[in-house]
Amino acid sequence: MAEPHGIEIKNLYKIFGPDGASMVERVINGMSKQELNEKHNHVLGLNDINISMPGGKITVVMGLSGSGKSTLIRHINRLIDPTAGEVLYGEQDVCKMSTSELREFRRHRTAMVFQKFALLPHRTVMQNTVYGLEIQGISGKKAEAKAAQWISRVGLDGFEDNYPNQLSGGMQQRVGLARALTNDADILLMDEAFSALDPLIRMDMQTVLLDLQQELHKTIVFITHDLDEALRLGDKIAILRDGAVIQQGSGQEIVLRPADEYISNFVQEVNRGRVILVDTVMDRGEVAETDMVLQQGILLEEAAKQFAESGHAIANVVDKSGKPLGSLSMQQAISAMVTPNSH
């Protein structure tokens, strides 16, 4: 299977209001969201967004409420029209598509999962799941067979004939996920898809998503306001504030080198053991006198567990073939796991 295209967002601006286009200039010249609102009564939704979302990977967009996350993800399938800028999928600019091109793009290339599930209340689980196919003009046995496979994959066997209001929130979102997956689209857009769920169910759903992604390799854009969720899911994370990207990179990069005070406040509370890899902390190139080995690419938390179990104080980090890459002591591992007091 060929890697799906990534999504390139370039110089994207969105200004809500009757005359957004003429406000772009002011924003480029540095007018703040607050000033724009007070002086011109326009709302700055997105401010010069540039993100490259790699194909086949999970890109997480994180930010507090009102930072523009929903606005951003809705530009990818153009539920919201941009004021300026480009959203490229391969060669195509989503923002320049005609109505019918856009409809085809939404039908075949994208699928979306919503915070409030947005299921059709008058349809059963099965009827909800086939919805995307039905819109494409595929219906009957063929559509249902495909839907049944995904219903089963998200763990809803036996609930095909239930109505959404007979299901718990977590189960409803599984339907939302099955509906999106049945579409067979490369791009999966998830706007705070798990935010409405209880913490335990949320963890469950994250696991479901990660498992699915292992085999599907879709280009997933995942929105969240929760840093732990972002770090767990994101191959790449972009942090949004007042409509602008203030940092983007891997979870590790963000935790280890927060771009500013705002982000470092955020990452204070993070469980570093679950973010930082042994590769990052080890003494590269050193080989220690020990018979304990750690696999390259495991998390510090896992390493600490193995130290505790083996009773060794130092280990060599090895790659898949067993070649040593460096050494890591238990002390190094533990001090990297605790939050530094100051930044």
Binding site: N77, L79, R103, E104, F105, R106, R107, H108, T110, A111, M112, F114, K116, A118, L119, L120, P121, H122, Y131, G132, E134, I135, Q136, Y163, P164, N165, Q166, L167, S168, G169, N183, L189
Partner: protein
């Protein structure tokens, strides 16, 4: 200037104005009346057919048919039983034929109101401009005393069934239109957005999402429409619509108290039957929209 007497158009001028308007309307009637009547002929034929069917068929069959429909709508033995008893009493007191006529008229009026009202309601829901044009017209239809628009209708169609149906529909269609509009506008925007995100066309959105989700509200509109049609039965009888309205009218003219009350009660009885049956149906439609889990 005299502030006591209102400066009005002179008597002669007013008369001329009336004569001019009435004259030109009469001419219009003479010119287009027959053509308009021909347009409504199929409607009249259908009404006559339905009326004949209800009156000429053996009453037990009609009774079973009506109660069967009530049961299918309500799925309630209680409502069906109530309907059976009410219809039996109506028949026993000699009002069977008039009741059948009234049921036929109300059925046809409701069908016309649904066929015209739903598309107008949909158009209103899709465009704010349309809404701002249609709303005042509906206000006018609802507040204008019905006798006033009976005049031109009778001038065009004479006395009979068709003008009766038209008068009733004018009176009863506004809630149908308003509630269709409202039902579509109240559809959860999140669900609509989901439909958009999956690439629905406008038509697909209307048929898959908007109409099904608006259906309980539309059903309330149909219920209102039936109730208002029944309320118009007496007025419609003044222009020759046969049914339960006519004996009531007769009773008013001759001060026959018992006759008035009996026929009035028959109207009430079928109103209650229709109301309970359609409401129960509306409730059933809504079953899956209620939130069971938080």
């Amino acid at each position: 200037m005299d502030w006591i007497e209102f400066p009005s158009l002179g008597r002669a001028d007013l008369r001329d104005l009336r004569v001019a308007i009435d004259g030109s309307f009469r001419e219009f009637t003479r010119a287009y009346g027959p053509a308009l009547e021909r347009i409504f002929e199929p409607l009249e034929d259908f009404l006559v057919w339905l009326e004949t069917l209800l009156i000429q068929s053996p009453w037990p069959l009609v009774l079973i048919g009506l109660v069967g429909i009530v049961f299918l709508l309500s799925r309630s033995v209680k409502i069906s039983l109530g309907a059976t008893i009410a219809l039996l009493l109506i028949g026993y007191f000699g009002m069977w034929e008039d009741t059948m006529r009234t049921i036929a008229v109300v059925t046809v009026c409701t069908m016309v109101a649904v066929v015209l009202g739903i598309p107008v309601g949909i158009a209103m829901a899709r465009s704010d401009r349309m809404q701002s044009v249609v709303n005042p017209v509906l206000d006018l239809m609802q507040t204008m005393p019905s006798f006033v628009y009976l005049i031109p209708v009778v001038m065009i169609f004479g006395l009979g069934k068709v003008p009766g149906v038209i008068a009733v529909v004018i009176y009863a269609i506004p809630p149908m239109i308003r509630l269709t509009n409202l039902g579509i506008r109240l559809v959860d925007p999140d669900v609509l957005e989901a439909a958009d995100a999956f690439g629905s066309s406008g038509r697909q959105k209307l048929l898959n999402v908007q109409l099904p989700l608006a259906l309980p509200t539309i059903m309330a509109g149909i219920n209102q429409c039936i109730m208002m049609s029944l309320a118009m039965v007496v007025v419609a009888s003044m222009i020759g619509v046969k049914g339960l309205g006519q004996p009531v009218l007769q009773a008013i003219n001759n001060q026959y108290f018992t006759m008035g009350v009996m026929n009035g009660l028959a109207i009430v009885a079928i109103a209650i039957i229709f109301d309970r049956a359609t409401q129960a149906y509306g409730k059933r439609l809504q079953k899956h929209s209620e939130v069971v889990h938080g």
